[in-house]
């Protein structure tokens, strides 16, 4: 099946096709799912190189499970987010063992006054604030507000109730608001 014709095929159907030896299905799944895995991992870890490793490992696990994929259960994207989450948790635990001194600092802590760079500075400031959040609050906030997932899907990924997701998101946002408040003016907010 040509690449264009696969745009309407569901992730689950593509995974089944891949398990049956269709390499093109792997190309489409990589295009669809790897940006989401990478985005989540990068926000969780705050390190692009590590996020790339996590993304590759998570996708490898997806390829391996393809022949045993049980249709009707989780969506491949949900399953992948869960794997990325677990891989990130492992890496963060190891990093905690290394101590805070070895966590990379941003290259330049002074936000640029150039208007075109304000958005990047806001993203960087948010990332620094996210890094300070407890892990579960960080996961919930990233999945809800950056990845744009609905609470029931986040609940599946985090293996908690939707109500617990709401609570984690609310607490995470309160902490982020407090952490970012001092920088609002230099990041282009008028208040």
């Amino acid at each position: 099946m040509p690449l264009d014709a696969m745009s309407e095929v569901s992730d689950t159907a593509l995974l089944v096709r891949f398990a049956n030896g269709d390499r093109m299905a792997a190309v489409v799944l990589t295009q669809r799912l790897s940006p989401r895995a990478l985005g989540f991992a990068a926000r969780m870890l705050g390190d692009l190189a590590e996020a790339e490793d996590v993304t590759q490992e998570a996708m490898l696990r997806l390829w391996k499970i393809a022949p045993d994929w049980r249709q009707g259960e989780a969506e491949p994207a949900t399953w992948l987010y869960r794997v990325v989450r677990n891989l990130c948790t492992d890496r963060l635990r190891k990093a905690r063992g290394l101590g805070l001194d070895q966590i990379a600092e941003p290259e330049d802590g002074t936000p640029s006054v150039e208007a075109s760079l304000i958005a990047q500075d806001r993203a960087a400031a948010l990332q620094m604030a996210l890094n300070q959040l407890p892990e579960r609050q960080r996961e919930a906030v990233i999945l809800r507000h950056i990845e744009g997932l609905a609470n029931p899907e986040i609940a599946q990924i985090m293996e908690i109730s939707a109500r617990a997701v709401e609570s984690l998101t609310a607490r995470g946002k309160r902490a982020l608001t407090a952490a970012l408040a001092p920088q609002r003016q230099e990041l282009g907010y008028d208040d």
């Binding site: 958005a119 806001r122 993203a123 948010l126 970012l180």
Partner: protein, 108 residues
């Protein structure tokens, strides 16, 4: 995704979404190389064939082997101690290769 303008964090989240990292070509190549390896299945993961399994399959599996074993035992038994009917049917004088065998069986 909708954004809440009253949310003090909405601008930060918008900026983060716009600044989302995209997988590099190199990363996508690595991911697809893994997919190819998974499809190809390395030879080490393929179970080596064993001559016993091949022989069993050639004979028709375990049920066929059990039948063969029964026939073999019966053949040996008839050979050692042929029933009188066999002698009558083939019409020849049989020679006892183990003359004391029957007596031994009867004694137990």
């Amino acid at each position: 995704m909708t954004t809440d303008k009253n949310d003090p964090l909405s601008g930060f989240f918008e900026a983060a979404r716009a600044d989302a990292p995209q997988p590099s070509d190199a990363l996508q190549m690595r991911i697809l190389a893994d997919a190819d390896c998974t499809l190809a299945k390395p030879a080490s993961e393929v179970k080596p064939r064993h001559w016993v399994r091949d022989l069993l399959q050639g004979l028709g599996g375990w049920p066929a082997v059990a039948g063969l074993a029964t026939a073999t035992v019966a053949g040996v038994w008839i050979g050692i101690s042929p029933p009188a009917l066999v002698d009558t049917l083939i019409g020849v004088q049989t020679v006892e290769y183990l003359p004391g065998f029957n007596a031994l069986l009867e004694e137990g």
